[in-house]
Symmetry: D2
Subunit: 367 residues, 4 copies
Amino acid sequence: MAGSILGTIFRVSTWGESHGAAVGAVIDGCPAGLPLSEEDIQEYLDRRKPGKSKFTTARNEADRVRILSGVFEGKTEGSPISLIVENTDQRSKDYSNIAEIYRPGHADFTFDKKYGFRDYRGGGRSSARETIGRVAAGAVAAKLLAGLDVEIEAYAKSIGPFTVPDDAVDIRFSRENPLCLADRETYEKASEYVSRLIEEKDSAGGVVECRINGIPAGIGEPVFDKLDAELAKAMLSIGAVKGFEIGDGFEASASKGSLNNDSFISENGVIGKATNHSGGTLGGISDGSPVIFRAAFKPTPSIAQTQHTVNRNGEHTDINISGRHDPLVVPRAVVVVETMAALTVADLMLRNLSSQYTLIKDFYMNK
Amino acid sequence: MAGSILGTIFRVSTWGESHGAAVGAVIDGCPAGLPLSEEDIQEYLDRRKPGKSKFTTARNEADRVRILSGVFEGKTEGSPISLIVENTDQRSKDYSNIAEIYRPGHADFTFDKKYGFRDYRGGGRSSARETIGRVAAGAVAAKLLAGLDVEIEAYAKSIGPFTVPDDAVDIRFSRENPLCLADRETYEKASEYVSRLIEEKDSAGGVVECRINGIPAGIGEPVFDKLDAELAKAMLSIGAVKGFEIGDGFEASASKGSLNNDSFISENGVIGKATNHSGGTLGGISDGSPVIFRAAFKPTPSIAQTQHTVNRNGEHTDINISGRHDPLVVPRAVVVVETMAALTVADLMLRNLSSQYTLIKDFYMNK
Amino acid sequence: MAGSILGTIFRVSTWGESHGAAVGAVIDGCPAGLPLSEEDIQEYLDRRKPGKSKFTTARNEADRVRILSGVFEGKTEGSPISLIVENTDQRSKDYSNIAEIYRPGHADFTFDKKYGFRDYRGGGRSSARETIGRVAAGAVAAKLLAGLDVEIEAYAKSIGPFTVPDDAVDIRFSRENPLCLADRETYEKASEYVSRLIEEKDSAGGVVECRINGIPAGIGEPVFDKLDAELAKAMLSIGAVKGFEIGDGFEASASKGSLNNDSFISENGVIGKATNHSGGTLGGISDGSPVIFRAAFKPTPSIAQTQHTVNRNGEHTDINISGRHDPLVVPRAVVVVETMAALTVADLMLRNLSSQYTLIKDFYMNK
Amino acid sequence: MAGSILGTIFRVSTWGESHGAAVGAVIDGCPAGLPLSEEDIQEYLDRRKPGKSKFTTARNEADRVRILSGVFEGKTEGSPISLIVENTDQRSKDYSNIAEIYRPGHADFTFDKKYGFRDYRGGGRSSARETIGRVAAGAVAAKLLAGLDVEIEAYAKSIGPFTVPDDAVDIRFSRENPLCLADRETYEKASEYVSRLIEEKDSAGGVVECRINGIPAGIGEPVFDKLDAELAKAMLSIGAVKGFEIGDGFEASASKGSLNNDSFISENGVIGKATNHSGGTLGGISDGSPVIFRAAFKPTPSIAQTQHTVNRNGEHTDINISGRHDPLVVPRAVVVVETMAALTVADLMLRNLSSQYTLIKDFYMNK
């Protein structure tokens, strides 16, 4: 397994290079009977589509998904769901000049070291186009979770040095502005900042925050496959992500136990927590509070400034990257974060079905 | 799989509760012919052992490891390596009062929700004692890596609000002070701070930083099983870890592409990088620079102050946790971070053996 | 994981229903640098294609494979290889009458019990068309193995009650007759037998034998993932296979140790065996002799005779299966056996790369 | 993973060499709340224990199992269950003479080729003692299945050339005779036969048949992880097994569709089959009939006759195997077959929990 398969029960295998014929994903382990249409998936793909504002690449892909298998009469069959999106606007020639040169901040060098050669067209397998498979599969997971009343929402928390204050988060607004920032005031500052970076042929990073509402207590496996551990892997598996934190995260490390512990409370017999410093998990298992985590994205490495680098032969050279690239990945990454979270939670909720013997007994003996 | 197995080729299965007969690990997939003794493992276990300073619990365990299988005449055989450490100082009675009460910041509540009941003695499976299996297995991974010239060193970067400046990191010093802080000046402030917290019956968090030196370029799998993704999972799988970042991490998200990109340089035909903002990976694959990452630990949830909480029946109650607990986990967590990193890197280095067809051909055809 | 993924390193995910848009497979873990073309794969698919003789179904599919990803400039890239074959001749209407009826010997009933409903068109996921994904992926494995001098050849050993004597096996002849039988005399008898069955609207079973030549000693993992165990799983995973044996197989169970043991011999320092009762494995690991195994196929369950059965409501009814079906599956199954064996051996040969520490040290330290 | 881990959800990791300190197993994924005692496991281990008749080795092991983790107050906790059996009667000296010699029919040669060296004491990891871990873990699976009304019973169907007729199978009798044969008349002939072989310093093989009663329809995953495929792997993973068949098995391959198809019938609304040629599966999924399969065991390779072989240096030599060995493995293998079947079915029954969306919805929404 060379790393393109994720999950234990709800298992996704993604495939496709930036400039190949198509990209896609196969889901093995989606339960039978889930209502599913191409539109359910298209809705998510449309949110990651380029070409929507000055903040995103001019590459113009229709990115229409087709379901090739696993759905019959509008419902999943229990068999693998094959999803495909054709690559239609490839312009391979744009990339020919970088075939021999290692772009700073990209995986050109490391792919060459690992495999002996690489598909240099648009980043090949390490292109952001690879996320189409994730988003398409994750849309199916999100549909499954929606039926279980679990809802996942992500938005930009920071762009460059501008951060939305915790008490100003407005998720609806994040769906209406091209930076996906969850606060108008922050958006205005960040928008000006990014515009300036575009003029300077530079790029910005940012932080995406994600909330998982409705997740029942008990999800996540102790020890290695904790809910937060699987989320951290899912996030760091997204190209450009350099950090992950859950709940108070790094701030918690500077706090005290007396402040950081969340008191348990009880209302009408339902146990909850007075605060949510933990971000919705205890011991790696969901505690019934919303799960809240953040992923930090580095600035887009492709910038139009001249950069110093080397070629395959180790000779120094300069590079001007002229392809179509986003000045920041965060706006299009929001839906990637959401769908990767959906894949993670769906898999752990299916794994959790076998946690209690008496419930299994109920399942089989009353059937 | 309920989450206690890690790895694809170098695969570790840990087991054991805080107050059971023993804790341990089984490694399946360690190559044959690696010289290995109990002392190789004991050295690592001794570094996580409690009872060494006022900053760690008074629980007194010998924590002697025994190798029950997989080693013959001083070398690994290729068969599973079974490691066991007996629990000798259990004092189960200390915990009887919390059988029905949910401790804030602990997994009592979530285990009950997941499994219907729990082993309340000392946290059961979610006890820090669970890390013995990780450390023992990770010591074997570290031995394997040492033979491949890969060296992993972790140390405390922060304790509470006190952080070692990047240019002051002194790893040797970190091995000589009970807080494992990598700078004398920071240590003195933090030591005073923690002493005060102990008096206040409170606890501290901190950040552990880890450097992996000598890792060749090409390690890590693209897409889901990136080196950084697997490290993130490994770190977040450690109880009390709430955040992970690699290289500049969250700071990178506020930077610009022109500053954050590491230029490639070449010296005597060897390609390297002028800076290391990326923390040693590009596209999820090691780039030949040192891998540098950080894990954020929350403050120990067990504090001797009276805390408000609820019991199993949802009735409000107060709790005073009187067991033996560390006022901070960081000093003992340093070796856990190191060994979890070792498990991660060892597995990915074995997975990398099958990356290139011509090398496989060499392996089989010249044999 | 719902069972459509196979392998540990060379990992295949197949997908597709008989009457969906297409069928296919994704390979994750094929080493980079293997020369690969669509023709390499097409050659294998052509061997399983229907419509070639009176002994196979009249369904007429072009079954042209396309490689959608993972190959660049004629070589595998190390990224997932996505293979697709479109379904062009579906005639869904043929099957509408069996939507509510359980065909004897088919998976209609068990799919309904498992999933609550099923794609009744042509068997859906349990159709023999599912094997296209196996054959396409296995062709890639076979190409990889060919480069390592491992060659796999299967042929029909029996059709109905007619069996090729061990000393008459002629593999070349098996490629020239429509029953794939490895002996002319047996072919003539079997051919007449099957013709009579066709007239009687009945069907035949048979045994496929497979030889793996050139497999080096040392392949296969002890305990659960033995070479023979993985082969057995691979074979029984093929629809219609009811038995597996390696070497002398069931006959060995009636033999004596003194007769069944293969003596080791040595010629010019090379250790071999005087006989090969074991079929090329000892302790689940290849011993350097040819691996020889057999898979028993039941008669095709789809027969044009009237059969008694029940419908979904448990009401008794008769059924006449009128679709296009093979009177025996063996001729088209030969290439399925070969390619499933190739997938199994390729995966175990990649797994074996990490067996010896000193070889791993060579790999990394001399690089 | 070097092959000592089995299962997807109910996952077992076994460990231990014949002459190491102990052998054992770790189960990760056993549901919480299953009543479990050491006696539940001991009962199964006692059935595989040597030293009970002239037909089994004189090695005398107490083989007492201890549960080291995962059970609290008599019930499984959901955490890994660690099982250990100490090796007490090792007599390593018996084996010193074979350190350099390759025993015919054993894995000495193949282990050397794979790993570069081997633990020559009593077969090391490839000893029949390795099955203790399987039986101990399988006893837990059997306990789980018993609670779901699934019962597994194996017995000797053949010893050497003597086979119990299908209509004479008497399972109760098989528990009362030292050959575990399911028919008195066959037992008497076989007993005499084996006695003669012992005198001749020779050994016998045999066939173990296994019935799984009460398994509900719907168990097993289509395509690769079919119920019969997983059973085949489980059986062939047992040392000395050379063949597997389910239902009519190899005989089916000589039959006709009209005879081999099982008609569906309906009684009081419950759908069943008029016959059971299929052995309880259709399309790899259980069909509600008893699952019936057979495993063929080769004759014990360790015989006291002088045998020709070679040593590590490729020099010809003779060998007289003088250790303690069974003249046939079948009687002790019966419980190994049973427990391996239990592991297989338990895992697939847990996997099946996620097959239907509406049932998952019930699980989470009504909770």
